[in-house]
Symmetry: C2
Subunit: 754 residues, 2 copies
Amino acid sequence: MFSEACIQKKAISRQDCANKETNQNSTFVNKTEPAIGTFHNDEHNITKSSALLSRTPNLRDSDQVTMRRTLRHYFLDTFNTYESLFDCLASENAFYIKPISLRHPLIFYYGHTATFFINKLLLARLINERVDQRMESIFAVGVDEMSWDDLNEANYDWPSVHDVKAYRDKVRTLVLDLIDHAPLHMPIDWENPWWAIIMGIEHERIHLETSSVLIRQHDLSMVKSSPNWQPNNYSGVAPENQLIHVAAGKVRLAKDKTSPFYGWDNEYGVHDAEITAFEASKFLVSNQEFLEFVEAKGYQTAEYWTEEGQGWLQFTNAEHPTFWRKAPDGWYLRLMTEEVCMPWDWPVEVNYHEAKAFCNWKKQQTGHAVRLPTEDEWYRLYDIASIRDVGAAPAQANIHLDHGASSCPVNQFAQGEFYDVVGNVWQWTETPIYPFEGFEVHPIYDDFSTPTFDERHNLIKGGSWISTGNESLHSARYAFRRHFFQHAGFRYVISGEINSVPASHYETDKLMSEYAEFHYGDEYFGVPNFSKALVELAVATLTKHQLDGLPKHTALDLGCASGRATFELARYFDQVTGVDFSARFIGQAVQLAKGETLRYTLIDEGELVSYKSRSLAGLKLEDTKHKVGFFQGDACNLKPVLTGYDFILAANLIDRLYDPAKFLSSIHERLNVGGVLMLASPYTWLSEHTPRKDWIGGFKKDGETFTTSDGLQALLSKHFCLIQEPQEIPFVIRETKRKFQHTLSEVTFWQRTA
Amino acid sequence: MFSEACIQKKAISRQDCANKETNQNSTFVNKTEPAIGTFHNDEHNITKSSALLSRTPNLRDSDQVTMRRTLRHYFLDTFNTYESLFDCLASENAFYIKPISLRHPLIFYYGHTATFFINKLLLARLINERVDQRMESIFAVGVDEMSWDDLNEANYDWPSVHDVKAYRDKVRTLVLDLIDHAPLHMPIDWENPWWAIIMGIEHERIHLETSSVLIRQHDLSMVKSSPNWQPNNYSGVAPENQLIHVAAGKVRLAKDKTSPFYGWDNEYGVHDAEITAFEASKFLVSNQEFLEFVEAKGYQTAEYWTEEGQGWLQFTNAEHPTFWRKAPDGWYLRLMTEEVCMPWDWPVEVNYHEAKAFCNWKKQQTGHAVRLPTEDEWYRLYDIASIRDVGAAPAQANIHLDHGASSCPVNQFAQGEFYDVVGNVWQWTETPIYPFEGFEVHPIYDDFSTPTFDERHNLIKGGSWISTGNESLHSARYAFRRHFFQHAGFRYVISGEINSVPASHYETDKLMSEYAEFHYGDEYFGVPNFSKALVELAVATLTKHQLDGLPKHTALDLGCASGRATFELARYFDQVTGVDFSARFIGQAVQLAKGETLRYTLIDEGELVSYKSRSLAGLKLEDTKHKVGFFQGDACNLKPVLTGYDFILAANLIDRLYDPAKFLSSIHERLNVGGVLMLASPYTWLSEHTPRKDWIGGFKKDGETFTTSDGLQALLSKHFCLIQEPQEIPFVIRETKRKFQHTLSEVTFWQRTA
């Protein structure tokens, strides 16, 4: 069907498609106003207007009546614009044929944004029942490419377009009724049930963009031109790119819950960064500029590609950007509903891997440290370009559908010294998305961001021509898998090495998460934090026995697990070493010691989880982080260097050792004479950890009861004396929201005497 | 070595061994005083005396000085008499050759009673260190026949007799020093550390008897006559046995901790029994009387033997009592150090199986319901014979070594109308040993009785000629495996069926024990009993919602487990049915409902356990036992008869069902309209109990959080309305002394509306 390519193309410029030599002096031609506008509010009687698509509203600076009016407008504008997008489909059939194999067909996305409203309104308790059980079951869950193997077509028996439209109408009526009549207490903030309404609208704005990408990926036979979705007709000669120096500076992001604009969970919190000076390309990389890479056999040269990029390349056999098509008469570009002769001055649209490969090629060509910007560097550009969020006037950027339904030349919108810091196409960054300090999930949408905190979703910044509402804001943070296509391209920078990306993923391993919570999390049943209680008891005991004059230079925390006691000991000791057999546990401690945030999910019930995060700062332990060191090691076979300690703690360790007697018989060698060994254990002997023959107590010996306490005395008395009577310290490990282990650990203090 | 039998025999009477026809009129011959007496207190300078062996002392009715003197005497008398028993061994070799393959050689028993003192004194903290680590390791643990596979000779490197004697001397000195100088607070009772001293002495008295049996089982070449251990020379014609009528009556046993005499744990508590009238044999069964059974091919006739007895018979190929030997010239009887012509008027010595087979043969011969007496029937005989415990004067019974080192004729000691209710040989009963109500283990000897509470150890009563100290008392309760030999015979009775034996064994299965404690045991962390709290909440809720006027005829406790809530509901409902999938759990409830005591061990630490027991009476639930019924059943597939209930409780059930939706969708059918369903669950969904696809909540449904609470609403709303907001009730399950599960169960009440 592509046999006569130019049948399907529109003349976008006077240039011949075959003529890739562009005239540097050509100017915009056929300059027309963009075809996009808003639909007036009259609910079902849609009339096109040239007014701008409504902006995401200020949710604080308004009285209740005005707010209802604003939201009515914002909702209808969104709902109607979204529906109009589907006018670009050529037939009913086009709703049911999948544009790409790993996503649902568009009929799903047509229904999905309506169902999303219902689901969130139910969770917010703004409504109590469903509109249509069947529709809402079908349209609830989208498909993330990550979970492609879940997509079983056999499960879907899609309803007709007519029925889905009727369903959408019911939802429209319901939402409008809520906006008009539901009780409203201003302001609308994160905790306000009305947040769910804005969430529904902003969610639909996102799908406005992603559905436009799917339409663009549909076979040309499946789409048709729509008067509401006309591309930009500007094109000319691509400008030669230049590098512009950017001075060092600071970036601060600190959206908090008093912000008047809706935000997704990942935008909140505080982030400060120091940016060293760098150079950045004045323009986004144009099709013209990218062509050099294609022609330099960039797609055939593995060395330019990351390992992950090579994998993608082998899988797809790509030879050029996905929306490019090479015909005998030259290059064409696929837009949403048509194919056009290549507009060489428009930004190239690629995935991260292609952008990265280009940079690596450029680096080799130039000898400069070319790469993509980080998110922080993008914010630095934003700051120096003195950009502001879109307002009532048309944006000074190809964004928010203010200037047509396509890209435009990379040299159309100047922003300070740069062009397109915001708008035109999204810009890939080197930064995998991560949560800021203070991040919390929103209770009615806990899987918006968290599944992307996996170091495999990179941030895209700046928005595209169809990025509207929240998407267009400075604070917006969207991320996609690196091989994913959006209306996204890139700008390159020359700069130094990138600091390692902050850990972003949530620990979901049950044991790891339980220990993170056990060491750093909440208290349950009023039982104080165990590690903290142990260290406080240690200090009190040393004082009580007038041993507080002993040196407190070094302490060893054996079996430190996630490390809390190590940090707590560092409040009192100059240098504390944490040792655990498990490198995974130590990983948590190391992460905290680096100043990073430990994130983990806790099982609430079945598969439902809570999201938690902790940092040393929040625990007032930040001052200890330079006094601790963590090492993987075996308590029964310690490295020789671990010696000369003034204090050794072994908490919940001895009944998990494979040879506790070996440990206890030699531990004095690691402690200075006069130093103190603190043991804490519930004496839960289990053959899975300690062979029965190696238990040190908890059995009948020579016919009589022989407790672990007896065993400790027998093993330690040669080198230690027991300072005081054993006592029990409780601890609680949370397994689910309602199920806990509640244990008593017997604590003994032993002073080394010989 | 038995080729010339009579070389080894002594003339015990003028009768010819070959002449088994006895003269009914023959009288005792060669009547001499017995050779047994005590050894005077002079520690190492033992002089034989004709004084009686000291009796177990009154531990209350004495001042401290007198008590010390009494104990010194009692200890030395015991220690010395025990040592003198080993004079019966013919050589050092005889200490090391095992008399029977499944027990240790006698050297062990020589050392063991001394080591036992040390172990118990250590536990009682009367001493702080061992006398001899090596000896005490070797001599600590005896061998119960039950654990014969633990007996690995390779582990033993026995010390010399000389060394053991030296060790015994050290222990003697130590104990005497304690008796003379350790602080003593009167009275010496169960809690008093000095109890350990009496325990050691009484323990040695037991071994005095059991070692005498081992000596009797030794090869004749291994033993020698000792002046201190001369058998009785009385013998004559065996009397014809007669049956004597015993009127119905009551037996009460109620030894409590204020008793002035030492007792083993199993003697304490309260036991009341109503004894129906029966007939009992006047005499113990004599060798003469038993010969009829032997000659009637009793050992060759399987039908007389119990199944267990047949097993023993096949294993041993026994054809007559173990101490009998048939020689060409007639029958001989093995005594401790010699073999004698059969004294036909002495009591036959057999194990339980032989005694039982004799009774069954006799039953067949006579058509009467012949059997062994129960323990209660033995006490009834004791009562009507007006017997009293041995005092300062020689016993009116062949007991306590007062009348020689062997049995004597069955018609020598009349006690009321009967002979030998007490003394001569122990008498097997039909009763497996069990603990009385109120039984507790003694903390320093927790495995004296408990391992025998297994329905495989039958009580022997009355004592033998060598039963001294506690063994000789009315309250004594000793039990042995039914195939075991002691100086034991029997008396038979004609009586009705025996009531089923009270359950005596301790549940040791971890899960079963944990549930017994969870339902009936102690409270931990101040969390009230869960079942009780649920039922109290149910009553309060019905009242609060003015539903307390609803009928309270019948209630159903689904997933009742060990049944506590069933009993608690029966405080308020006329009839309560408990149903559980597990017959083992229900077994606990049924046992309690029968008025029996539930006994179980709880893990303290490793293999160490605590012993617990609970009965309805102790929980003030005795009145409910006639209102409950327990059935095994599947909550997802209930029997049709289980319907028409006014109230249904399902506590901690739904997340353990394989199909909770099936259960919830049909449970209304079992409830009267207006009736109330109470659910309690921590919603701990685990695929091991409920396949993931059958969870009713605890997952994302259509992309949104769907809690179990949502699932309950969805499944129940057709037939029920939720009475009030869910609330959480905590429960604690003890796993070890220091490790607990602490869980919150969400409780909802649902009234059936349709």
